[in-house]
Amino acid sequence: MSLLRTTAILLFTGALFSHGTGLHAQQTREQLAARLPSSNLSGGEVQATRSQLLAAPGFARARVPHNPGAPDATAVGEATCISCHQLEADHFTHTLHSLGLHAANQADASVPVCEACHGPGSRHAQAPFEKGTIIAFTKAGGTPIEVQTATCLNCHKGGPRDHWSGSVHQRNGLSCSDCHNPMANFSGEGFMARNSISDTCAQCHKDVRVQFNRRSHMPLPEGQMSCADCHNPHGSITSPLLKTNTVNETCYQCHAEKRGPFLFEHAPVRENCLNCHSPHGSNQNTLLVAPVPFLCQQCHTGQRHPNDLLTSQSLATGSNPDERIMGRACLTCHANIHGSNAPSGPRFHE
């Protein structure tokens, strides 16, 4: 796989140097604004710099969505919007939506910019304090949640959002804009409302987020993964919004070695990783739900060694040290607890 790694390195360095180094000419915001594409619906000077390339399909078909809150409103064009909302426009400039909408607008002046998401602006411009006259994605804006989400889904329907309708977030009255804020770049990825996916989820799920502060946890607080590695907040065919068909398939995405199937399988392991592991964090080693050996002794009551009650007298500091409770306890001997591929491993010893 060194080829894959090399390709990735080349791409990275290529991208780094592909445009050379430019002069760091000091420029004012006004100069910048003047250079950025205008998107006045009248076209005007825009056509001069119009790209000869085909329009990007993702934005070329953007149209002004219907706003039930202002059924008679008409589009006024970006220039009118930003005459008042200049600061918003400044922040929006470097987002991907801005880039795509402006490029599409240059190629086809009928493609709206602000009004592609906010609906026709004429009524709002006349009565900006009248709620619902513009499709607003805020609490006070007066636009019903359903109208907000439907507006986003005009372009973003399907794919990862296929099961939004009926999902737990939809049923609990969340809007796209509870998690996303595409008005500026707040996060490196995903147009999140907060600095990261995980920070965004923690707005409501702080109780889950703090579990990641426990002794054993997946590397989410360390920024090496996000909630969205396992969950699809837009809805999925599982009730915990998992991205795959089952809990285990979700875990196998990063723990592929556990997939097997093994010559000898451990029933609760195959059934559901969560039988023994607490995925958001645990104060036991390796995300275990309860301390070994008691975790195992919830099911293992068989004859001889599994069903004894061991006490602190059997720790290394006690009078009768016992391997069944010290260190990895049961797992010191039944080490291949996730399944064994050894012909001599039916009890996961090998």
């Binding site: 220039a79 919007c81 411009a125």
Partner: protein, 238 residues
């Protein structure tokens, strides 16, 4: 929680209490003579209060230009009577603290205290709005002005003025700091709009808005707006 962690907690908990003093420095700059910032932030201030009678007593210096009750016959000076107190106050703050480049008003206001300024603002606001007149106005210009004021000019990126200034320029309840325009001297209004359009350096957060709004106005539109506004009847929003 250990006793050792408590001091940390206490320190962090106390931080927010210490903050307002610094955070609101910009807002409070109105009250203290500070080095002029680039622009004055007029957003989100609480409504002002003052004593109109005291203001009247202090308004002597204003009369020369703005008239006894804030209404002046000089067409290039703004009428102040019936203007909104919050708007007046923040305009005066802007002038007093030198946000506006080399304005003669700065010198006039320098000796006044912040309370004086509040009183003055409340006094002028309490005076009647004397509608100026523009008998020479062209009906076509008035019509154009009305059309832009009420409906904007999307082709030029001009929003309807009424959204922020009221259907007849009487101001809107939601923003006491945004001015009444009706009855104002057309010459004064037109001059201000031209300055905005031509990109005069903004002195306040509101100027950033008006610079953008006026960018698409041509002379005919400006004159039309000024003519239409002076013709509007009505009572200003308080």
């Amino acid at each position: 929680m250990t006793s050792k962690t408590m001091p940390c907690l206490a320190l962090l908990a106390a931080l927010p209490l210490l903050l307002p003093a610094t955070v609101n420095a910009q807002a409070q700059s109105a009250a203290k003579p500070v080095a002029p910032a680039k622009w004055l932030d007029k957003r989100g201030h609480a409504p002002i209060h003052g004593d109109a009678a005291a203001g009247k007593a202090k308004s002597e210096v204003c009369r020369a230009c703005h008239g006894q009750d804030g209404n002046t016959p000089v067409p290039t000076f703004p009428n102040l009577g019936g203007q909104r107190a919050d708007f007046l106050y923040w305009e005066l703050v802007e002038l007093k603290h030198g946000y506006r480049y080399q304005s003669p008003m700065t010198e006039q206001l320098t000796p006044l205290s912040d309370q004086d300024v509040r009183d003055l603002a409340v006094f002028f606001a309490s005076q009647p709005l004397a509608h100026a007149s523009d008998a020479a106005a062209d009906p076509a210009a008035i019509a154009l002005g009305g059309q832009i004021f009420r409906g904007g000019d999307p082709q030029r990126g001009v929003p309807p003025c009424q959204g922020c200034h009221g259907a007849d320029g009487e101001g809107i309840a939601q923003r006491p700091g945004w001015p009444v325009l009706q009855g104002q001297h057309p010459a004064y209004l037109a001059a201000r709009l031209r300055a905005y359009r031509d990109g005069d350096p903004p002195n306040s957060s509101n100027d950033f808005i008006m610079n953008g709004v006026a960018r698409g106005l041509d002379d005919a539109a400006i004159d039309g707006l000024a003519a239409w506004l002076v013709s509007r009847p009505g009572t200003p929003e308080r």
